[in-house]
Symmetry: C2
Subunit: 482 residues, 2 copies
């Protein structure tokens, strides 16, 4: 069927006089849809405004308005002295034949994955109070485009918080507000790459997402071993990496804390080699066996980029983090941030500033330290009862611990068997970089779990190990390592 | 002065028994500070715990705790059988001798810069209501790590909004939540570069920030001329750019709208050349002379990436924007977003979802359309009275118009003279790409200004032009163009 002169009745336009939509709009909408979907093909002559008006029993002005709108939008062609015509169809909307499969993630029966705090205890009321107070008192200009470093008032509060809670002595002009520690690292990695760096050091193992971030910036991650005292600093000597990422407070995933002598050695390495330490102060707020250990930052403030975030202390959805930059580096990082065209939401910054200033974060942390400590104790107790022969590590801090398994094969078989039983957890070796030689084990995150849920999950995990042990071929393995 | 055996009295540690800080903490803090600032030098032997305890009249356990903490943090060295000693100083904190100059931007007397809405009318109460309702009813999981495309509920609301208000027929799975249109463009530019693109087309002139974004992604911006009907589409033919960025609703900075026939021609160009149109639907919500013109998107939905944001309709500080992606491209863009490790704050997404669903954005826009229209009228009236001979363009939509000046020299001299009088505004040619040949003029943004402020600013601007005119050498220039 080729283009032809359409009569009014061919258009299948109908008017609903009970509708609140203006009549011109109704005509316009129906014609637009017909053109888009290919029902009205290009080149078709539309009826004159007079003919269509008569056919629909509407005033001619109504049809003139509808046609004018469609012409302005590019759907029809109005020429003096000729009938209006449908423009050659540029493209007909494909009906989305197969709507994209929505990935429905099957939720595991037992979720022991690390890295998420208990979202159920997020202090919603206190946060709302802060939002209200902040928004009601913010000057208009704060709602516009602000300094790409972040709201100045918030940087003052963050400088105060990291000084008070983490021993990081700094000034607001060295603080950068970011969307979290991983975002901070992505900015730093890009700035390092722009400076000419090709590699970046990591603890081996360390969180695989961080390795990806480095790779995307064009840096090759180089792993350095970790033992009971944390990163083995001697291995860095002579390795010529321009920077190393460490998590001194609670190494991920092994759970060890960096010892005092290693801290001093690391700072010395950075100064001697003109290198940077990127201190990911992960989990530092939750230390159970003693008063929290201050940040490494103080040992070499000119050499350390300190990273913190509210993702573990409050909620990842806030997307609020911060970096404390040494003067030698901050211009470059801030440039990366402004290059990324991505300032953080002022509204959240305003609320967080009020929240910090009112002492709400300290209050929440005092409460959560007790809660998480009890959960940690519940996991340790349950493991002692259910799996007395398997050693446990990394219990001094944070929201996860490690079930130590003596070999890669053992780790993998327990990991696979757990998954089969719908127990979600992470293995140490999935966070390994090339050259990794252990230790091996499973990471058990307990942040979001109630104590009964913890007991149940550990009991299920023990069942998995018992089944494995009872298989003839793997029987001796477990006893061997314990 | 070399290292030496310190006596307790050398340490200058003092205890404040009225303080709420524990005594061990007081000792620890003072020693840490002394080491950091270089007052206690590396290698110095500290007094034994017994000696210091005696000297300070505190129990020995208190000093043991303080020393242990400093050892854990790497400041001192505790060896069995030897006195504790200060570690060799790695680095002494430089006192920040010259605190960074805070750039105090002198505020202009008259601010006619474009691009910012009136922040004083941001609907704070309605926003707070949305925040409260959203946060109080959000499931816990929404506060965690969410889909990097954005909260699903919000994408449903955005798909509905762009369909209803802008004629963009789409589904939530094609919607991506970003931090604004510029952020959207930066993701698109990087995805294009990764596909092998070297260039990207722009209207010439168009906003210079967009050119920078393209350049940072490694794309060379190529300009195509603009006339009264918007982008001159014929110029694109044969130019082999893989994509072109347009603002059909209200071209920035010239203020023209893309005509119906140009819209159709542009869509045809994209289909014929397997190219993309990036539709920056800038200022589309504010159309004054007629009903708003639907987005170009509908003419070639498989070829158009549609960009919108809340920066002009609500506030830039929200950092909320959206892109509607054609199926041929969305996977790549979403990958860029997740590569940038930057999801948007869930909290703002939750609030915006509630705000949209409650019809608050529509309500705010209805109100602001009237307000901005009145301001537009006030500028036009003031210009007619004060500068009757100078033509004005781009008045049909948006938050700015253009004072047309016939030559580059004239534009620049008026621009310079205005700045001298502390009138801040933008020139057209600062947004030009290479090869630009006019038109020239000044961009006058009136979004944030009250009507009396507008009159005063235009009167001041007229004074500037009159002074210029009265100078013997430039007298004829103005009359010449009018």
């Amino acid at each position: 069927m080729g283009p032809r002169q359409l009569q009014a009745r061919d258009l299948l336009v109908s008017i609903d006089r009970s509708s609140r939509a203006p009549i011109a709009r109704q005509i316009e909408d129906q014609l637009r849809r017909a053109i888009r979907t290919g029902m009205l093909i290009g080149g078709s002559q539309l009826p004159s405004t007079r003919a269509l008006a008569q056919d629909l029993s509407v005033s001619r002005g109504v049809v003139v308005r509808a046609y004018a709108q469609l012409s302005t939008e590019g759907y029809i062609d109005l020429r003096q002295g000729a009938n209006p015509s449908v423009r050659r169809p540029v493209e007909v909307t494909r009906e989305s034949a197969a709507p994209r499969e929505i990935q429905r993630v099957r939720r595991p029966r037992f979720d022991l994955r690390a890295g998420v705090p208990d979202l159920g205890v997020f202090p919603r009321h206190a946060w709302l109070r802060s939002q209200r107070q902040a928004l009601m008192s913010a000057p208009d200009l704060d709602l516009g485009y602000i300094d790409s470093r972040g709201l100045e008032r918030l940087r003052v509060q963050i400088a105060d918080y990291v000084g008070r809670a983490r021993g990081v002595a700094t000034t607001p002009d060295r603080v950068l507000v970011t969307a979290g520690s991983t975002h901070s690292l992505s900015l730093i990695a890009r700035a390092l790459a722009r400076r000419g760096a090709r590699t970046i050091g990591f603890e081996n193992p360390s969180h695989m997402v961080l390795h990806e971030v480095a790779e995307r910036a064009g840096l090759r991650p180089v792993g350095f071993p970790v033992d009971e005292e944390g990163l083995v600093v001697e291995e860095l000597i002579g390795a010529s990496v321009p920077a190393v990422v460490v998590s001194p407070a609670h190494q991920f995933p092994t759970g060890h804390a960096l010892s005092g002598s290693r801290r001093a050695a690391l700072a010395r390495w950075a100064v001697d080699n003109d290198a940077l330490i990127i201190e990911d102060d992960y989990d530092a707020e939750f230390r159970y066996d003693r008063a929290s250990v201050g940040a490494l930052h103080g040992l070499a403030p000119e050499r350390v980029i300190y990273l913190g975030s509210a993702s573990k202390t409050l909620a990842p959805g806030l997307r609020i983090g911060w970096a404390v930059l040494p003067p030698s580096f901050d211009v470059q990082i801030v440039q990366e941030l402004s290059r990324s065209i991505l300032q953080m939401s002022t509204f959240d910054q305003l609320a967080f500033e009020t929240f910090l200033r009112a002492g709400e974060l300290d209050r929440h942390l005092r409460k959560m330290r007790v809660v998480y400590r009890q959960r940690r104790d519940a996991v340790v107790r349950a493991l002692e009862e259910e799996l007395p022969d398997v050693p446990v590590g990394g219990i001094a801090a944070g929201l996860h611990l490690v079930l130590e398994l003596g070999s890669y094969e053992l780790e993998q078989s327990v990991y696979a068997a757990s998954r089969e039983q719908s127990i979600a957890l992470e293995s140490i070796s999935e966070h390994a970089l090339p050259g990794y030689e252990g230790p091996y084990g499973l990471v058990i995150g307990y942040g979001p779990l109630s104590e009964p849920a913890i007991r149940e999950a550990i009991r299920e995990l023990a069942r998995v190990l018992t089944v494995l042990e009872n298989r003839a071929d793997s029987g001796p393995m477990l006893r061997g390592v314990a």
